[in-house]
Amino acid sequence: MSAQLSVRDLSITLQNGVRILRNVSLEVGAGRVHGLVGESGAGKSMIGKAILGTLPHAMNVTGGQICFGDVDLMAMAPKARRTWIGANAALIPQDPLTALNPSKRIGPQITRRLVDILGWAKTNAKARALDLLAEVQITDPARVMRSYPHELSGGMRQRILIASAFAAEPKLIIADEPTTALDVTVQKQILKLIAQMQAEHGTALLFVTHDLGVVSKVCDTMSVLYAGKVLENAQMRRFFTHPIHPYSRALLAATPTYSNPTGSLAQVPQKVIDGVEQDIRHHDIRNHI
């Protein structure tokens, strides 16, 4: 399996010295789905932002490599990298209510960048957008293209954002908790839609979530992130049958499963957390020497 995206030893530090990511390594195989799980604040979104080049001003990449196929993104000039990302990667954001520009119609929000960045003809871009909207099961795509975001429901908007992400046939899509902002019934439909689109288009997908149940359904491989550090990279099946890291085991125990639907909703035990924290401190000290 060749890697579409490989992140090696990526470290990100805030300007005040606080470390956000510590030597993160992970791979997403071509056409595969890689899950990225971890609790809130673990740094999942920052990995996505580092790849797409949209880290907050206060954060710096202090080490590591991000390779896209054989292309080393870190070695590229900012402008080249930006257009390259625009053509080869895309983001499905977390909150569809804030991810569309409120003062623009839907149509241009999908088509403009195909024209501006990728040099498509306007009519082609429009036809492509109409096709994709139909593909994400939006009825009356032509009317939706003329609508403003506030005229559409959250589920519709997330469908539009999914269509837009696939518009340029990118090699990699990063979906950052794409269903958290939606209500439960819509969540399932959107999840199914993303999995279906991914399979049909053969796009590599980095799927960020804190829901192991979701990961077990859509992913081929996965990483567990805790406090900016990858604790375990694993094949899907192996992870659920033989988790290696104590934190992973505790995480699985805390997750409701089909066989045990109410689940033992116990917290990850403090002993495990303490162990991980000590590991990380030890690692930091080793890195500083």
Binding site: L52, W84, L91, P102, S103, R113, E151
Partner: protein, 336 residues
């Protein structure tokens, strides 16, 4: 449609507002001391002369009676006769209006240009020294009133480095036969660029003095709302599509960030028009404001009334235009 509703409501309130202004001005200027008739008569005039003139201008009647006579005239387009120049008020006022309009609009454009540039540059350069410098200079610009900027400009460009005219509207030698009083507009249409340059040379300093405080307000507010908008998800998403920082700021963030600024600019523009009174005096610019000061000095009651009403009308028109622009620029209101 929503736009029509806004216009209709605004027209209705405009009439009420203007009526209120008319009442207040009419009574206030009659309560303050000072007799216009006394100022018109030569020394040694008799009681009979005074009475005759008072009757001629209607000042012998009671104030409410005078008001209704005047209001009746206004409704028919007759604003009375100026006491100091004995010309019809409407003619005098409309003759001066274009000068003040040109000055205000040029000042507004300058303010938007300077303020907008500062806000965009500050956003582009956020976190650098340039942003700090912009913050400091807008702060200073805001804390100094327009007429003081006028004096500073006179010192700089009139005395130390005399490149601009410090008084008047146009050089007498260039005063071509204008058919309207919109000199600048007309010079442009007639392609008389020599005249245009002269007009600009006269208008530069008063317009800039009026523009500086407003530019500072626009710069500060627009930069603030741009800064907030730049953190929003759709801006981040546009970045991942491969757009440059400049495109992201001007095309994605600006159209949304500009709305709060627009409302404020509307209010501030009416202040700017009010500011023309002193600035026109300072630069001997022959506009409505300069005429207002003369009218007050001469206790020219009909003229004061006419000028104040016209200013009030201007303010309401500005507000109407801002409301309409707000609806046009904000799709959420357009379809509501």
């Amino acid at each position: 449609m929503n736009l029509l509703r806004v216009i209709f409501l605004r027209l209705a309130t405009t009439f009420l507002t203007l009526f209120g202004v008319a009442v207040i001005v009419f009574f206030v200027i009659r309560v303050v001391p000072g007799n216009p008739i006394a100022m018109m008569l030569p020394p040694g005039a008799t009681e009979a002369d005074v009475a005759r003139l008072q009757a001629q201008y209607g000042f012998d009647k009671s104030i409410p009676e005078q008001f209704f006579i005047w209001l009746g005239g206004v409704l028919q387009g007759d604003f009375g006769t100026s006491i100091s120049t004995r010309q019809p008020v409407s003619e005098l006022v409309l003759g001066r209006l274009p000068a003040t309009l040109e000055l205000s609009v040029v000042a507004l454009l300058m303010a938007c240009l300077i303020g907008g540039t500062l806000a965009l540059t500050g956003t582009r350069m956020r976190g650098t020294r340039t942003e700090g410098a912009i913050d400091v200079s807008t702060g200073v610009a805001l804390s100094v009133p327009d007429f003081l900027w006028g004096l500073v400009l006179i010192l700089l460009f009139g005395v130390l480095w005399p490149v601009f005219h410090i008084s008047g509207r146009i050089s007498p030698s260039l005063d071509i036969d204008f058919t309207t009083n919109f000199y600048m507009f007309e010079a442009l249409l007639r392609l008389r660029f020599d005249v245009l340059a002269d007009l600009v040379g006269h208008m530069f300093m008063p317009a800039l003095a009026l523009a500086i405080p407003l530019a500072a307000i626009i710069g500060q507010l627009l930069k603030q709302s741009l800064k907030e908008t730049m953190h929003l998800d759709y801006v981040a998403l546009a970045r991942t599509k491969g757009y440059s920082e400049r495109h992201v700021i001007t095309r994605e963030a600006l159209p949304n960030a500009i709305l709060p600024t627009l409302t404020l600019v509307g209010v501030q523009f009416t202040f700017l028009i009010g500011g023309t009174v002193i600035i026109e005096r300072l630069f001997s610019y022959e506009g409505l404001g300069n005429m207002a000061i003369d009218a007050v000095i001469n206790r020219d009651l009909p003229l004061i009334q006419g000028i104040v009403l016209l200013f009030a009308l201007l303010f309401t028109v500005v507000n109407l235009v801002v409301d309409m622009l707000y609806v046009v620029l904000n799709p959420r209101l357009r379809h509501a």
